[in-house]
Structure formats: structure tokens, C-alpha cells
């Protein structure tokens, strides 16, 4: 394989060069996972093919006026305007990225500026380039960038080796951030591979609402089955003592995008990390989530939902480590499948020897709306302490016939009744993390995608 590093230009700190070089060396030695790797058996072939198709080449900056880039840039501008408006109404700080690169003009003016009493959002490329002048950020980045992530993960290795830009979010100790932070990653689908990297350091006792949205416009022309783009984002979250974070990752890119993403959170004593992932786009989406409850009484609530139609594929991979006593984790992942959609859930919970009094719950359900759809579930519990309470369950099923009949008896068509039941099933996996307008927004998005006779996702149509 040929590897291109997404150079930022200018001089770089030595630690960064070493980090990126080591990571690429790891990837070269280990090789990108293949179908024989149990953890990658469903995703490896499509992922490597997509990366090969693009020579693993990272995003280039869209040159203004470049013929192909211009329409995409306009689309990005339209999108950004919409998001910016909404973010403004919500009172959020918005950082907008195009194919992995921060766009200053599409972002809130606060991005890159001072903290202003809330969280500070800085473009990663800028923070790194700045480093000689900005000792504080440099030290922080050197200490934490790559310090949360697990370097065994191929997704992380790829990103660490090749990232060019992303965001650094700093939450001061004790900051009850009223303004949410929104990171929007817009994919033009313009034959690019993007490796955005995000590092969030949430100070002791702080609280933050963080949203990451991966979005794009649907390509107009068919592309002979080639994936238009690969997105490979890695987000590292460090929650210091008693910090609280609510985190949404929305993946709604065009259905030709291959998305290989990872979220890593280290949760210190008394801190609480709550995560919602929603996958509504992409051709192949694999999202790995690893949460390390490394302080006494650390807590996490994890929710994930994927809507998978056509020939699309979604793979959730979670790993929760209970390291210290009294931690709790609660996972619910669901998928709604139609057409020839496929979903995989692999959920590993490790309760380490010292983690007495831990409480871990994991659930995974799949709803199959068609005969061609398929779901697999692999729960893995490793418990090295007797004084724990762990539950897990997994179901795969179709719509409940009795409910369907009840709704039809009241006059709803098979289509309407199925849609209503599918939405009810899906919506449950959106409860427990988000609230208010953001929750409403996601519920509406899901309702729209699962609407009866919806033309946008016509393969959700259900046969009677």
C-alpha cells in the first residue's frame, strides 16, 4: 500500500512526527486487518478496497475555482449556512470541516479564539502549527494527543498516521458550558480520504454537550460502485474527575461513503460520559467505541442506532473497561434493517480484577424488515471480579404480528403500521443520552427515514 501523509506545511514538533511515523510503521507491520481477523471479518474487504481505490490518499484542500471542487464547495457552503443557523439558534460553537479540513469562514467566529467562559475550540492544524508560540496547547497536545486512543486499533493507527486537521476542545475545570460544541464534518464525496482527529480535554467538574456530525450531499452521478470517499475520524475524550459529557456522533454521509470511525473515552473518578451514535448514511460504516472507566464510580451510558437499507452495512464495535470499583455502564444498540442491509454488533465488556461493585448492562436488538436483511451480534463479557452485576441480552426479530394486526384493524395500511412500529423500536435506542431539541431533531430524522412510502429510502418498504 501507498501512504500519503496529510502534511500541514511548516515545521512540526518532533513528538508529532514521531507519533505519526510510529503509527504508520505499526500499520505497515500489522497490516490493515483482513477477513480472517474475527473482529473485521465483515468489514475488512470493503474497507481495504475503498482505501485502495483512493490510494489511501488524504484530502486535498478544495482549490477555489477548481471545476470539480466548485459545485462541492457551493454545496458545502449551503450546508454550512443551514448548520450555522441552527447552531446559532441553539447557542452552539460551530466548527465546520470540509473533507477533514477546518473552514474558518464556515465556522463560528469563536472557533480559534479565546474561551469566553466556555469551552475553547481550536483547529488542530492551527494548534499544532502554533505550537512554538503557544506553549500551553503544545504541552497539552503532546501529553494527550494519542494518549487516550488505543494504538492497537487499525482505525486509530490509520488516523494517527495520516491526520492533518481536526479540533482541539478544551473545557476549563468547573466550566458548566452553556454553549454546546458542534463539530460538523462535511464530505464532498469528491474522491477523497479524510482522517479528522479530535481531542477533547474536559477539566475536573466541567460539563459539556458535544456534537459531531458527519454529513454530505448525495452524489448525482453513479460511480460504478466505487465509494466516493473514505472518512476515518478518531475522537479522543478525556474526562477528568467529576466531569460530565454528552456526546452525539451522527453519521449521515452520502450512501457511497465508507466511514471507519473510532471514539475513545477515558473517564476518571466520578465522571460521566454519555454517548449517542446514530448511523443513517454511508455505504459501509464501522464505528468503534471504547470507554475506559478508570476512576472510582465512573459512569457511562452508550446508545447507538443504525438504519441500514439497500446494500448498506453498519458495524458497531464497543469495548467498555471497568478498571476501578463502583463503575457503571449501560449499553443499548439497535439496528433497523431493510433490503439487503447488514448490521454487526460486537460488544465487549471487561470487568477488571479491582473493579468490585461494578454494574454493567448491555443490550443489542435488530429489527429485520425484509428477508434479505441480516444482523449478527457478538456480546463478549470478561469478568474478573465476583462482586459485580452484569446483564446482557441480544434479540433479532421481525415486526410483532399481533401489534401489526392491531394497528391495521384501526385502518393503518401495512406500510403505515410497519413504519410506526419500526420507529417505535428505533426511537428507544435514542433515549437516555440526549434531551430537548437535539433529541427531537434525531427522532424526526429517524421518523423521516422510516416513513411509510418514503421515496428517499424506498427499500424500507415492507412486504406484507
Amino acid at each position: 500500500m501507498q501512504l500519503w501523509r496529510d502534511g500541514r506545511g511548516g515545521s512540526e514538533p518532533a513528538w508529532l512526527e514521531k507519533l505519526q511515523r510510529t503509527s504508520m510503521a505499526d500499520l505497515r507491520v500489522d497490516g490493515f486487518p483482513g477477513v480472517h481477523d474475527e473482529d473485521w471479518k465483515y468489514t475488512a474487504s470493503v474497507a481495504t478496497r475503498a482505501l485502495d481505490e483512493h490510494d489511501w490518499q488524504p484530502a486535498r484542500m478544495l482549490a477555489a475555482g477548481e471545476a470539480a471542487g466548485k459545485a462541492a464547495a457551493e454545496a458545502a457552503a449551503d450546508f454550512a449556512a443551514g448548520f450555522a443557523r441552527a447552531a446559532h439558534e441553539r447557542g452552539a460553537d460551530l466548527a465546520f470541516f470540509v473533507d477533514g479540513r477546518l473552514s474558518a469562514e464556515l465556522s463560528s467566529s469563536s472557533v480559534g479564539g479565546g474561551a469566553g467562559g466556555g469551552a475553547q475550540v481550536i483547529g488542530l492544524a492551527a494548534a499544532l502549527a502554533d505550537s512554538p508560540a503557544n506553549g500551553e496547547h503544545a504541552a497539552l497536545l503532546e501529553r494527550h494527543l494519542g494518549g487516550v486512543a488505543d494504538h492497537q486499533s487499525a482505525i486509530t493507527q490509520l488516523n494517527t498516521g495520516l491526520f492533518g486537521d481536526g479540533a482541539l476542545v478544551l473545557v476549563p475545570d468547573g466550566c458548566a458550558c452553556e454553549r454546546a460544541v458542534e463539530l460538523v464534518f462535511f464530505s464532498t464525496g469528491n474522491e477523497v480520504v479524510a482522517h479528522p482527529r479530535v481531542l477533547v480535554v474536559a477539566g475536573a467538574g466541567s460539563s459539556l454537550d458535544l456534537t459531531e456530525r458527519y454529513v454530505g450531499v448525495e452524489a448525482e452521478s453513479e460511480n460504478g460502485g466505487r465509494s466516493r470517499a473514505v472518512t476515518n475520524p478518531v475522537t479522543e475524550l478525556l474526562l477528568e474527575r467529576d466531569a460530565r459529557m454528552t456526546h452525539l456522533r451522527l453519521q449521515d454521509e452520502s450512501k457511497e461513503v465508507v466511514h471507519l470511525g473510532r471514539i475513545e473515552a477515558r473517564v476518571q473518578q466520578g465522571a460521566e460520559y454519555n454517548s449517542q451514535v446514530l448511523v443513517t448514511g454511508g455505504r459501509l460504516v464501522r464505528i468503534e467505541i471504547r470507554v475506559r472507566l478508570e476512576g472510582r464510580g465512573a459512569r457511562t451510558v452508550l446508545r447507538g442506532l443504525s438504519l441500514v437499507n439497500g446494500r448498506r452495512f453498519a458495524d458497531f464495535h464497543t469495548l467498555v473497561d471497568h478498571v476501578e470499583p463502583g463503575g457503571s455502564s449501560n449499553q443499548l444498540y439497535r439496528s433497523v434493517l431493510a433490503g439487503n442491509g447488514r448490521s454487526v454488533f460486537t460488544g465487549r465488556v471487561v470487568v477488571h480484577e479491582g473493579a468490585s461493585g461494578s454494574n454493567a448492562g448491555q443490550r443489542n436488538d435488530a429489527l429485520l424488515l425484509s428477508d434479505g436483511a441480516h444482523a449478527s451480534s457478538r456480546p463478549q463479557l470478561e469478568i474478573y471480579n465476583d462482586d459485580v452485576s452484569c446483564t446482557h441480552g441480544a434479540t433479532t426479530g421481525q415486526l410483532d404480528e399481533r401489534s401489526l394486526f392491531y394497528l391495521r384493524q384501526r385502518g393503518l395500511s401495512v406500510d403505515e403500521a410497519s413504519s410506526l412500529l419500526a420507529r417505535a423500536f428505533a426511537t428507544e435506542a435514542l433515549q437516555g443520552v440526549l434531551k430537548g431539541e437535539l433529541l427531537d431533531e434525531l427522532e424526526k430524522l429517524v421518523a423521516g427515514r422510516l416513513a411509510a412510502g418514503s421515496t428517499g429510502v424506498n427499500s424500507y418498504e415492507v412486504s406484507s
Binding site: 404480528e401 394486526f405 384493524q409 385502518g411 403505515e416 417505535a424 428507544e428
Partner: protein
């Protein structure tokens, strides 16, 4: 022309013959009571008329408003005015009662070429009807039947019936498990719908609901057939004497 005409109906479920040559005529404007021992086929008839896919017609015919009812899908029957108050209403988590019912009401209105109700109009009407069955508006926001008490489920069925204004209403033991107030509420819900163009089939084990809704006819079903029909008096007789005497009479007539 009868509203509902059932002729020589033989029905099986899971390979077992349950209805054996059932005959029933229900005129518009009439209320009929249907009584019979446990397992005699009352719910089978009700679910078959509603179009449940598990019930298979082996023989016979059912016409509704002059059309072949058996030729219509369950949801089409509903939109054409057939309503079943279920003996065991299904709990459907995550589907709000109000949202669902508005969709159901509008499905019927679309079918009849009427304008759909918007949220405000729907709410106005729903409030009225909730009052009729003694339910709180909060039920509209709850998941359909989920966690409802037995009586609340039955009231909710009648509330839905009142909202949907069916032509043919089949009430399958809607009176079972109701307290006295609920029984009155169900009675007044039914009587409010008692108009010359509607018909109702009330399946019950007890006379007490029939004190509020006096039926025009009473039928007794045993072994999947109507073995005796009469007026409101027959229901009282059944309550006093049970079914044994009818069994003997039926056996005698069959012999």
C-alpha cells in the same frame, strides 16, 4: 340488505376447525348480543370478521354492506367501517395513543374522501370522547395500552371506537373486568353510536352490560354454531340457567 350477512361459515385455525356452519344476519340499526361458553368460537368469529390472517375460511361467505368482506384486507375492512374492540388489546410500547389514533382517524377520512384532521381539530374531538369514557387526556401521550390497567384498556377501546365512528362494531368481552363506572361508560359509549345506519355485535358472558345496552337480538354460540337466537330475554335466561339446557336442545335437534 343486511349490514352483515354470514352464511354457512366454516373456519379453522392452526388446523383445527372452530366455526362449523355459522349463520348470522345483522341489520343496520340493530344491536345483537352473542353469548356462549368458553372456547365456543366467539373471538374466532370476531377476529375472522376483522380479517386476522391466522383464521382460514374453509367454506361459506360473509357479506358486508353487500360486498364480499372476505375479499378485503384487514386495514381496508377497518377503513370501510369495521371495528373490533379486542378481548385482549395489544400493548404497543413506543407508539403514542394520540399519534396513532390521529393516523387511524385520518386513514379513514382519506378513504372516505374527507379532509384530514389537523392536530387541533383532532384534540378537540378527542377531548370530548375521552370525557365520554371517563379517561384523562394524559392517556393520549402514553404508549398505546402499555401499562394500562385491564379496565383502562377496555375504556381505551371504546374511546377509539367513538373516534373512528365505525359502521359495524364488534365488541369482544369489552365488559369483562370492568368496575361499575366503567361499565356505565362503555354502555354510554355504545349507546351514543346507536344510530340507524350502524350495527353492533356485542360478545359477552354477562347480562349486566345488556342492562345498559338492550340488544335487539341475542344469539347463543356453541361448538362453532349458533344454537339458539332470541330477544333480550334469552340473555337473562342464559345467565340464570347456563348453557347445559341449550346443549341438550342442540343435540336433540341435530339428532
Amino acid at each position: 340488505m343486511s349490514l352483515l350477512s354470514v352464511k354457512d361459515l366454516h373456519v379453522s385455525v392452526a388446523g383445527n376447525r372452530i366455526l362449523n356452519g355459522l349463520e348470522l344476519e345483522l341489520e343496520a340499526g340493530q344491536v345483537h348480543a352473542l353469548m356462549g361458553p368458553n372456547g365456543s368460537g366467539k373471538s374466532t368469529l370476531a377476529l375472522l370478521l376483522a380479517g386476522h390472517p391466522a383464521y382460514k375460511v374453509e367454506k361459506g361467505s360473509v357479506s358486508y354492506q353487500g360486498r364480499d368482506l372476505l375479499d378485503m384486507a384487514a386495514d381496508e375492512r377497518a377503513r370501510e367501517g369495521v371495528f373490533l374492540s379486542f378481548q385482549y388489546p395489544v400493548e404497543i410500547p413506543g407508539v403514542s395513543t394520540g399519534y396513532f389514533l390521529k393516523a387511524a382517524v385520518n386513514a379513514g377520512r382519506r378513504h372516505r374522501g374527507e379532509d384530514e384532521l389537523d392536530a387541533m381539530d383532532f384534540l378537540d374531538i378527542a377531548r370530548e370522547q375521552l370525557k365520554l369514557v371517563g379517561m384523562d387526556e394524559a392517556f393520549l401521550h402514553r404508549s398505546l395500552n402499555e401499562g394500562f390497567s385491564g379496565g383502562e384498556k377496555k375504556r381505551c377501546e371504546i374511546f377509539q371506537m367513538a373516534m373512528l365512528e365505525p359502521r359495524l362494531a364488534i365488541l369482544d368481552e369489552t365488559d369483562s373486568g370492568l368496575d361499575v363506572d366503567a361499565l356505565k361508560a362503555v354502555g354510554s359509549g355504545v349507546n351514543a353510536l346507536r344510530t340507524p345506519e350502524r350495527g353492533m355485535l356485542i360478545i359477552t358472558h354477562y347480562q349486566r352490560l345488556l342492562d345498559y345496552i338492550v340488544p335487539d337480538r341475542t344469539h347463543v354460540i356453541m361448538g362453532g354454531r349458533i344454537v339458539r337466537s332470541g330477544d333480550a330475554e334469552l340473555a337473562r335466561e342464559v345467565e340464570q340457567r347456563g348453557y347445559g339446557w341449550l346443549e341438550e336442545a342442540a343435540a336433540a335437534s341435530a339428532a
